[in-house]
Symmetry: C2
Subunit: 332 residues, 2 copies
Amino acid sequence: MMHYPRFAARFAVLVSELRGKQVTVIGHQRPDADCIGSQVALCRVLRAHGVEAVCMNPDKVPRRIKFLVGDTPFYGRDELSPEGRVAIFTDCADHGRAGEKVRTMYSAPIACVDHHISNQGFARFDFVDTASAAAAEVLTGLFLDADLPIDRVTAQALYTGMMTDTGQFRFPSTSERVFRLSAELVARGADPALAGAELYERESLGKLKLLQHFIGSLRLECGGRVCLGVLPQGIFASSGATEEDTEGLVDYARSIDGVEIGVLIEERPGTVKASLRGKLSVYRMDTIAAQFNGGGHANAAGLNWPGTLPDFYPALLAAITQRLNEVDAALA
Amino acid sequence: MMHYPRFAARFAVLVSELRGKQVTVIGHQRPDADCIGSQVALCRVLRAHGVEAVCMNPDKVPRRIKFLVGDTPFYGRDELSPEGRVAIFTDCADHGRAGEKVRTMYSAPIACVDHHISNQGFARFDFVDTASAAAAEVLTGLFLDADLPIDRVTAQALYTGMMTDTGQFRFPSTSERVFRLSAELVARGADPALAGAELYERESLGKLKLLQHFIGSLRLECGGRVCLGVLPQGIFASSGATEEDTEGLVDYARSIDGVEIGVLIEERPGTVKASLRGKLSVYRMDTIAAQFNGGGHANAAGLNWPGTLPDFYPALLAAITQRLNEVDAALA
């Protein structure tokens, strides 16, 4: 059974074009497990196929997901010259998601593998499937459809990308295909318990302190349909947490019975960062985020906004309220 | 492909023997989602096959998993006469797991479907597979192998049993088969997002406040290998939480990097209650708990101790320290 029949022929052409080329597999800033997992997996499969591929990311691989990399060559942005190299972007909704400098360094990407709803395509070969839960899902399907060998490290990287981008198999994107592909990856050596232990049983005390603070800051708005929490400036220093420790916090805001939309707001010098999570895709977190220079998926979006918390909070709340009203009216 | 080839012929004999019989599908006391899900699924599949089956449980179906039942006939222990009925036990490690009264009411079970390692078999037809993650996994395989139709409610019940008993697909029992069967169930109408929403996105604000307090109380001991947190008397009233809301809290203590054993201590009038969770079975939480009138499993145990927190805390810590030293010596 083919997993991505509409991509198969094009992917075969890409793989054959890559022969003899030097490939840089690029992921987005502030990489998550789906980003790093996809980069690692694509790089390894290409190398096993005789293509000289390496991974590059503008940011460091976060501590928690380093276990995915293994012996895969992984470079920082300024450690690798783009000279003579072609670029494939994974898990990037657009060409700028790895930063402006990387966009300039690799101005004409040969390929892009992604699942973000806002991805319009920006490479010669685009493999964008917005019904997929993860870039790792698209890649797993492409590899299996093309009968390319998947080693144990690759299987673990792809599995972990799918596991995290489905929120441990519970977001609406968790499809029959996600499970079928996960089974194939476990058959090839992926270890679900290892992924769980590395990602969820190696927390820092600082991260828990951050969670403690975030829960304490939660406020219900819009009659309990919206729950917002704030991390103030200085919280990282005082709690001993790092910025990557914010991952997953917003899910606590959304987890409350009756809440439709959960929000995490981080106060930063001169800017505000926010993560939005909806329980139903109809609320379109991506379009709310877009009003503040952000973007993402229907159920999960993010933004960076130049301004202060006292300005941002009511503006965001107004945008959310308007959206709730629109949806209520449409469903009435 | 057969999922449980060694069971297939026996299951076919059972199903054919059940024709014309009245069947009670029984689960264990304090039922969880795998128990209720298995009961519901087996009952529905038998009914669709023309067998007059109903579910019975000695305890109420917990609020969070009621969504699994649908229109399946479900009775309390004293609402259904055992007269003329044959019993099938699901998710029960032994004949007494539904209580002594139920054991007497149904003294000769016709069948048992289970996955607990301690299950020695106690029915005429035993379908016990200790390599399976869930009773729901065994049932899913049996149904698919026998080509019995699985409706949407049945698929949801089976899927949710597997999801919860694998800790959202991250316990070591999460196998290739778990994913293959999950894919089959999603294809038959199971909705992973619904299961996730009902089980993990209907929290009370009180439960989060309890979590906030628990995190604030965490202390690392034994060089960071043990993490203990305390819920003082009165915390339920002040946070608006219930005693059921303590479920899962201890996992936060264990989740810290380097921590081998996590502990939750609840202070109660005249007594102390504690939950112990180990990352590795070698630490034997059950034997530590046994020193305080408790018991359980190698990775998860609990106790109730008559005394006060100032007495209990150092005594427990001494017992844990001794156990860590014993294990260290044995592994040296």
